[in-house]
Amino acid sequence: MSYIDPHIHMVSRTTDDYQRMAQAGCVAITEPAFWAGFDRSSSQGFFDYFRQLTDTEPKRAATYGIKHHCWLCINPKEAEDVGFAREVISIIPEFLDCPTVLGIGEIGLNKNSKNELIILEEQLALAESANQLVLVHTPHLEDKLKGTNLIMDAIDNTSLDPTRVLIDHVEEHTIKSVLDRGFWAGMTLYPDSKCTPQRAADCIEMYGTDRLWINSAGDWGPSDPLAVPKCRLELASRGHSEELINTISFGNPLDFLSKSGKFSIS
C-alpha cells in the first residue's frame, strides 16, 4: 500500500532515507521550509534554501520515484528580528508560481513572542492575498497549548478558510480544539517529543480520521523518516482496516494537498 509523508525535511536527510522510504511505499512527500538548526545570516541564505526546496530536492526524490513538493516561509525561530523576517517574506512571492510550491509553511509560533506573532500575521496576509494553502507549525512542549490558541485566534482574524489550513504537531491537549474550529490537524510522530506512533493510533481511535493526517517531520534532530509506515503497522496490528490506514496515510493528505491545485503523485 502506498503512503504520503506530508511533512518531512529531506534537506536534512540522506539519500539512503529516500531509498528506504520508497521501499516502504512512500510515493510523495511535502517539505515545509524550517529552521536549519542555526540562524541564517542573510535573506540570500533563504533564497538559496528556497532554490534547494524547489529545484534540488525534487530531482533527488525523483531518483527513487518519490514526488517532492514544498512550502515556503520564514520559520518562527528566525522571526524575532522583524526587519530580517520581512526581507525573507519579500522574496517568497517570486517562488509561489513554481509548480511544486503548495503554499505558505510551516509558519506559526515558537516561544509565543510578540514579534513572532507579527510575522505570523504578515505571512497569513501573504497567504490570503496569494490564495495559498497554509501549513502551521505549533510550538514545542510547554509552549504548544498557548501557541496553538494564539495561532488559531490569528487565523480567525483573517479571511482564510480553515479547511485550507492544516495545523501541525497536535497532541492530545490540542487536537480537539483544532478540529472543532474547522482546521485540518497533523500528528507528528517523534520518538521523544510530540506523538509516538502508538499515541497517534490512540488519537485516531478517539477522534476518527476526518481532517487528520500523520507525518514524520523527519529532520536533523531525533526523528524517524519511517515513522509513517510504523504508525500504519501499529494500526494494522490493532486490527484496524486497510481502508482506515489508507485514509489517514494517503487519502487525507491527498485530499488536503490537492486543494493547492498543484499536488500530484504521478
Partner: protein, 93 residues
C-alpha cells in the same frame, strides 16, 4: 470515532512489558538524580512528580491532563523570545 479493536487483556499482553520498562527508567532516572547529592529539586522534576501523581488519579484522559500540567497557561504573547528552546515544563510548575 473508531472503536478500539483490541480487548483489555490483549492490550495488557501486548504493551505491559514495554511500559514496565518505562516505569523502571523513570525510577532509575530519579535514583540517579538522588545519587548526585543535590538537595534542591529542579522545576522539571517537580513537574514530573506531579505528573506521576496524576497517573494514579484513576480518571480517563490522563495523557491530555498530563500535557496540560506540563503547559504554560498564560494567554498573552511574551515581549521577547530570548531563547529558541523549550524545557518541557513551565518554570512555575
Amino acid at each position: 470515532m473508531q472503536d478500539n479493536q483490541m480487548t483489555s487483556e490483549e492490550i495488557v499482553d501486548r504493551y505491559f512489558l514495554e511500559h514496565r520498562a518505562k516505569v523502571l527508567d523513570i525510577a532509575a532516572f530519579l535514583d540517579r538524580i538522588d545519587r548526585s547529592g543535590s538537595k534542591e529539586k529542579d522545576f522539571r522534576i517537580i513537574a514530573l512528580l506531579k505528573c506521576i501523581d496524576e497517573l494514579q488519579s484513576g480518571d480517563e484522559n490522563r495523557t491530555k491532563r498530563i500535557l496540560e500540567l506540563l503547559s504554560d497557561h498564560s494567554i498573552e504573547p511574551i515581549d521577547v523570545a530570548s531563547t529558541k528552546g523549550a524545557s518541557g515544563a513551565p518554570p512555575t510548575s
